[in-house]
């Protein structure tokens, strides 16, 4: 049983999800690294082959091609399809990142094969691939079985802890030249504009600090950004804060925003509507600060403080600073 892992590269950097995917792949093959192939696409991506080996890739395909150096859906699909034809794979794994979620469903449809998105675990039941995936933004977990010989799976980032196999491991590296049918590329990348923030996206962040309607206005979010900077956290917001115009929509956590699962989620002035809780309930540790002792968020919080956020935020900043400085 062979597994292909799509190891994502953006801006020349290997995404940390690669280690998570390879760890899950190793579990599926029972530790057999020969059966685990990984593919890297992008300019200069060969430099990452070594890292993939240390996480368990036995073979790494390196693809440097004019059409795949910057992500474009169709050339990525053609390349991976050619690898699938060459070697037969039981599972093709990727991360449920904006890139993975963009091309995997289309790739799966091209192969008329099962597609399972945003999964939190993968297993085999006989010959069939079975996954667990949250639905309704995490209000329930579905166990879903694929019925096809090859199955395409994207795994939610930050769920499976990446485990290094062997820092000295080596993989056999093969340069792979895809045949790209240029006529089929009907959507062409013309520009990639940098984001405002250098911080990880909410969906990939391991630390999140969020503000709710109680923030009162957009200027007040600055105190959360200042606090977040101390520990390298990403700042989020509740729907109430976004709808009130205090924060941009791309910061929204919840069922109609982003589903997040950081190690630590600190909610300031967020009451905890069902749809917000749905989006952040899988955070490993939740801290809530709210003036209302009956706020539903306290039911989900590991640690809570009944207090005014404007008084609490500077104190959190002070305490966290001490820890950062001493570690």
């Amino acid at each position: 049983m062979n597994i292909l892992v799509y190891a994502e590269v953006r801006n020349g950097k290997l995404k940390s999800t690669a280690g998570e995917l390879l760890t899950e792949a190793r579990r599926l093959t029972g530790g057999k690294t020969d059966s685990i192939h990984a593919v890297l696409l992008g300019e200069g991506c060969a430099a990452h082959a070594k890292t993939l080996a240390t996480y368990g890739a036995g073979k790494v395909f390196v693809v440097e091609h004019a059409t795949t150096n910057t992500y474009q859906c169709e050339p990525h699909i053609q390349t991976i399809s050619q690898l699938i034809q060459k070697n037969s794979y039981k599972v093709v794994l990727g991360a449920a990142s904006p890139t993975g979620r963009d091309f995997f469903p289309r790739l799966a449809a091209r192969h008329k094969s099962g597609m399972l998105t945003d999964v939190v675990s993968v297993s085999l039941d006989g010959e069939k691939v079975v996954v667990r995936r949250p639905m309704y933004a995490g209000k329930c977990i579905a166990e879903v079985m694929s019925q096809t010989p090859v199955t395409f799976v994207t795994i939610r980032p930050n769920v499976i802890p990446a485990e290094l196999l062997n820092a000295a491991a080596e993989a056999s590296v093969e340069n792979f030249q895809p045949n790209i049918d240029a006529a089929a590329v009907k959507s062409k990348i013309v520009e990639v504009r940098k984001g405002k923030s250098e911080k990880p996206d909410l969906t990939e962040a391991s630390l999140i600090i969020s503000g709710g309607r109680a923030m009162g206005n957009s200027d007040n979010f600055k105190i959360l950004h200042d606090l977040a900077d101390v520990v390298g956290a990403t700042v989020g917001a509740s729907r109430a804060a976004v709808d009130s115009g205090y924060a941009p929509h791309d910061m929204q956590v919840g069922q109609t925003g982003k589903t997040v699962n950081p190690n630590l989620y600190i909610a300031f002035g967020i009451s905890g509507s069902i749809q917000h809780l749905a989006g952040m309930r899988t955070s490993k540790i939740i801290v809530a600060v709210n003036t209302d002792p009956d706020a539903p968020i306290f039911q989900k919080a590991d640690y809570g403080i009944v207090a005014d956020l404007f008084q609490a935020v500077p104190l959190f900043k002070e305490e966290l600073k001490k820890i950062v400085e001493h570690s």
């Binding site: 979620r101 639905m135 079985m145």
Partner: protein, 259 residues
């Protein structure tokens, strides 16, 4: 210009999910439904595109009788007519591939220049149907679209899509295409009262799912479970705030080990 918009009826975001038949199904008896929030941006973009470039707009939905409500809302916002794929009486499971194949047949008949979809549905959170439909119809797709500028009439468009960290990818896309609308694409209008009245009389054609379905599902749900509830945490109140913050931060380090 021919514009299609796909609309899904989903359980309201305030819905509590309960299990039925020991987890074989979800208990939908108390579900209240709404237009999938991302589809509202798709509808609005369809209406605006038609206002600018003229032509015809069509809403397509797949589901039981109640989805007509969602279609009427789209028509109240300005969509001209509807094609409803009626799933009443369909006992079997439908995965996103089945849905995409049925929708692809309607797209093949309607021959649109653009198909607007919501970038994902908030119930299954899969975001499969847009890209799968595009594949089945041989069209390019762009997901999580935040800006569309039409070029040469409707021959092509410059489309922006948002990815992680606020990075924007800009694409030139040839028509016909599938575009998955994201939140900041526009601000959906409230259906105006005259629009609501007019919508009642707009044509809504019905198709039977069984006539459009050709494949068995490629994935099937074995069961559902509810997430495990956490045991109640420690809530501090009434002490001096600096003490409480110190305790919590201390616990984050010593007990939770997350910092």
């Amino acid at each position: 210009m021919k514009i299609l918009v796909l609309v899904k009826h989903v359980p309201d975001t305030e819905t509590k999910v309960k299990l039925a038949a020991g987890g074989k199904n979800l208990d939908d008896s108390e579900f209240k439904y709404m237009v999938n929030p991302y589809d509202e941006f798709a509808i609005e973009e369809a209406v605006r595109t038609q206002e600018k470039l003229t032509g015809e707009s069509v809403v397509v939905s797949l589901g039981p009788t109640r989805v007509q409500e969602a279609m009427r809302k789209a028509m109240a916002m300005g969509i001209d007519r509807g094609v409803w794929i009626n799933t009443d009486g369909h006992g079997g499971e439908l995965d996103s591939f089945c849905v995409a194949t049925a929708l692809a047949k309607v797209v093949a008949e309607e021959k649109p220049d653009v198909v607007f979809v919501g970038q994902k549905a908030i119930d299954d959170d899969s975001a499969h149907v847009g890209p799968m439909l595009a594949e089945l119809c041989g069209m390019p797709h762009v997901q999580v679209v935040t800006k569309v500028e039409w070029q040469d009439g409707a021959q092509s468009a410059r489309v922006e899509r948002e990815v992680e960290g606020g990075i924007i990818e800009v694409y030139d896309v040839k028509s016909p295409m599938v575009l998955g609308a994201h939140k900041s694409l526009n601000e959906p209008r409230f259906p105006p009262l005259p629009g609501i009245m007019k919508a009642k009389k707009k044509p809504l054609a019905e198709k039977k799912l069984s006539d459009l379905l050709s494949d068995a599902p490629l994935t099937t749900v074995r069961n559902y479970a509810l997430p495990s509830e956490k045991s109640p945490g420690k809530v501090f109140k009434g002490e001096p705030l600096p003490e409480m913050v110190k305790k919590v931060v201390g616990l984050l380090r010593s007990e939770a080990k997350v910092i």
